[in-house]
């Protein structure tokens, strides 16, 4: 396999080359017709990751796809899959007197069950700060020894190691005023959840490039072996995505599902062993509460016993309460690939990015935000 030079890994004009795109699309048209004939209708692939949803929309490629191909958005946007109950817990943390909440920007606008978000908490006097790295939150805790600094940890295997690294650093520094939430979700169990639904219509998974860079290819093997569903780990440039779709179509046409790696300039079969070690030290596999799905055993990461003292939820004794989804919102169905954003009665009417009802419209990587912003 050809390996990319460091420079080629980060930038290449070929990634958005029009002629290459045209030939990939021509190939796709032939393959999609064959695949659709085999499946007796359309071919449905799911892009699991929110960054793929955004990249597909931003490149305007949906209208270039053959008519037989449908790309469904999956449960891979960190903000979208965080349950209403966990969002309420984030807001409860922000209400603890004296606490500084540090968070990635996306979380600011996600509304809890009472209609408040972190923006609103800030207006009411909570100290909420956007950081670019959890290490900035650790530095803040060092600089403000008299205040409790909480980082809002959400996301998948991609963000978990970075936050795990920050927590490990805080432990090494002996910081008593730093803690984090661990509302982490795992991608492979999410795929299993989708596939175990007998009504699922998924003919292939475009697997997340960044998550796979951490966990490698092995954890996806069951998808191809047990469920006979094709998988391709894919990068985020337009030609990565077109190539990834063609690889999926070829697997469908050949009838030989496997786990392939289109994004091999970044993703290696064994993943990132350093990050994996960190994950297994700081976190442990635990139940997670998914929006629209509920709390499911062994689908997330929580703090390990050694790091339990850094769990903000325990430190501030924040209870979990199930909270209903916003009324009329179809985020749940959209996250499960059962509906597209325009199928939701609120989409573009009661629910727009500036007054979002559901998290799929709030997050910049949510399926609804992508459809609204880029027209699908």
């Amino acid at each position: 396999m050809k390996t990319a030079s460091p420079a080629e890994r980060f930038s290449s004009p070929l990634w958005r080359d029009k002629a290459l795109a045209a030939s990939a699309l021509a190939e796709m048209t032939g393959l999609a017709a064959q695949a659709a004939a085999l499946k007796g209708g359309s071919v449905n692939f799911m892009e699991v990751c929110g960054t793929h949803t955004m990249a597909i929309a931003a490149s305007g490629m949906r209208r270039l796809f053959p008519k037989e191909l449908r790309m469904l958005s999956g449960p891979g946007c960190p903000v979208c899959v965080t349950s209403q109950g966990d969002i309420d817990r984030v807001l409860a943390l922000a209400a603890v007197p004296g606490v500084i909440i540090t968070t990635f920007g996306d979380m600011l606008k996600v509304k809890g069950s009472k209609g408040l978000d972190l923006h609103a908490m800030r207006e009411r006097g909570s100290d909420v700060r956007v950081v670019y790295s959890p290490l900035d939150a650790v530095a803040l805790a060092q600089a403000e020894p008299g205040r409790q600094v909480v980082f809002i940890g959400v996301g998948f295997e991609t963000t978990a190691p970075v936050i795990g690294g920050a927590v490990a650093r805080a432990k090494k520094l002996g910081l008593k005023n730093f803690s984090s939430t661990a509302f982490f979700k795992l991608v492979p169990p999410a795929l299993e959840l989708l596939l175990s639904d007998p009504e699922n219509r998924i003919h292939g998974f475009m697997l997340p490039g960044h998550v796979s860079a951490i966990i490698g290819l092995e954890p996806y093997k069951f998808v191809a072996e047990k469920y006979k569903v094709p998988c391709v780990v894919t990068g985020f440039e337009p030609l990565d995505i077109l190539t990834g779709i063609n690889m999926l179509l070829r697997q469908v046409v050949s009838g030989k599902p496997s786990v392939e790696d289109e994004y091999f300039r970044v993703v290696h079969a064994a993943g990132n062993p350093v990050a994996q070690k960190l994950l297994s030290e700081v976190f442990t596999v635990t139940a997670a509460s998914w929006r629209a799905i509920g709390t499911v055993k062994a689908t997330g990461l929580g703090f390990s016993r050694v790091y339990a003292g850094f769990d903000a939820i325990k430190r501030f004794k924040i209870p979990y309460e199930d909270a209903p989804e916003p009324k009329g919102c179809r985020c749940g169905a959209i996250l499960l690939g059962k509906a597209l954003p325009p199928d939701c009665p609120l989409f573009g009417k009661a629910c727009t990015p500036s007054s979002a009802v559901g998290p799929c419209m709030v997050s910049s990587e949510g399926a609804c935000a992508a459809w609204f912003k880029y027209g699908g």
Binding site: F10, S11, R16, D17, K18, A21, A22, T51, A57, A58, S59, G60, M61, R62, R63, L64, P78, V79, F104, G105, D106, M107, L108, K109, H119, V130, Y132, V154, G155, F156, T158, T159, H210, P238, L239, L242, T352, P353, S354, S363, S364, E365, F372, K373, Y374, G375
Partner: protein
């Protein structure tokens, strides 16, 4: 919908800012000079036409690679005059200072303002100072206003843009916004990204020597996408942009990709969008490129007559998508 209260997004330069202007200011102040909502207003005084504009500047940090709040305050107002075809005649400067603001920093900022004004060939002829208690302001806020003379026969306005007109941008986009964010949040992004803040009246005078320019816009907050939405709304035409033609430096492009920002929505302080007849485009490009601030000028798209006017991006791979006005603030993303 009535305005309940002001939120940060009202200052983003995008759709929320537009709503605020329409629902509050336009309603209260309505008059023919204000109505077009362009970069500066046209006012007729004793047989001559003046361009008149004002802008307030708040930026953290006050100094960043390539410029500072003072340079931006002068350039922004000069450029708002120049894009209406006006020759800047005089500026004012109002300062709101927070108690405790360092004197040497204030002197550096005012000297920088002087240098920018000298470059633009205009003087700051009047001013005002207020000092507020510590905590009541963020160091320094500057307001500048400017007047300029629009020479007889010049009429540059978005509503004059015609189907088939080409869209030119005067150089690389997004440098200013990325440079400020990099400095404010100490992101440590390398590649020497600098603010593009510059007075563009010299470049624009050169451009206007050739005929065929119908309108110009200063591409500041909200970026090119927002400007095109405003122009499309004013002239009732579709603006079609070619992604492959939009000039963005590799450093800024990578920074935007990393932060999840779209360069088409990031602020600039030294770039304009020019709308001109297709036959005038070669001369316009030549004139822009002859100036140091327009060296990377390039045609990025065209205006089209369509049933439902929109701003559309033809993507690098030949797809297409709509460019809406910026909704609220652009927020950095999780992953």
């Amino acid at each position: 919908m009535a305005l309940a209260k002001v939120v940060l997004g009202h200052g983003s330069g995008g759709r929320l800012s537009r709503d605020l202007v329409e629902q509050v200011f336009l309603k209260s102040f309505s008059n023919p000079s204000l109505k077009p909502l362009e970069d500066s207003a046209e006012v007729k005084v004793g047989g001559v036409t003046l361009a008149f504009t004002t802008d307030s500047y708040v930026v953290t940090p006050v100094e960043f690679p390539g410029a500072d709040i003072g340079r931006v305050a002068v350039c922004g107002t000069v450029n708002d005059l120049a894009v209406k075809g006006a020759r800047p005649a005089a500026l004012s400067a109002g300062f709101i200072l927070e108690e405790g603001f360092p004197g040497d920093l204030l002197l550096r900022i005012t000297r920088s303002m002087r240098r920018a004004a000298d470059e633009a060939g205009v003087s700051i002829v009047t001013g005002d100072t207020k000092v507020v208690e510590r905590g009541k302001a963020d160091g320094i806020f500057i307001n500048t206003a400017g007047v300029g003379l629009i020479p007889k026969g010049r009429c540059l306005t978005s509503s004059a843009v015609k189907p088939g007109d080409v869209i030119i941008v005067s150089g690389n986009l997004a440098d200013h916004g990325v440079a400020v964010m990099n400095a404010r949040d100490r992101l440590g992004l390398q590649g020497g990204i600098k603010s593009d803040a510059a007075p563009l009246n010299g470049m624009i005078e050169g451009l206007l020597r050739a005929p065929g320019v119908r309108a110009m816009r200063d591409i500041t907050r909200g970026g090119l996408a927002t400007v095109l939405n405003e122009v499309s709304g004013a002239c009732g035409l579709t603006a079609e942009l070619e992604e492959n033609s939009v000039p963005v430096s590799p450093a800024s492009r990578n920074a935007c990709a990393l932060l999840g920002l779209d360069p088409l929505y990031v602020a600039n302080e030294g770039k304009i969008a020019v709308f001109c007849a297709p036959s005038a485009a070669p001369r316009a490009l030549q004139a822009l490129r002859a100036h140091r601030y327009g060296r990377n000028a390039v045609v990025v798209g065209r205006m089209l007559k369509e049933k439902k006017p929109q701003v559309r991006l033809v993507t690098a791979i030949g797809g297409a998508r709509v460019l809406l006005m910026l909704e609220g603030e652009q927020l950095p993303r999780i992953c």
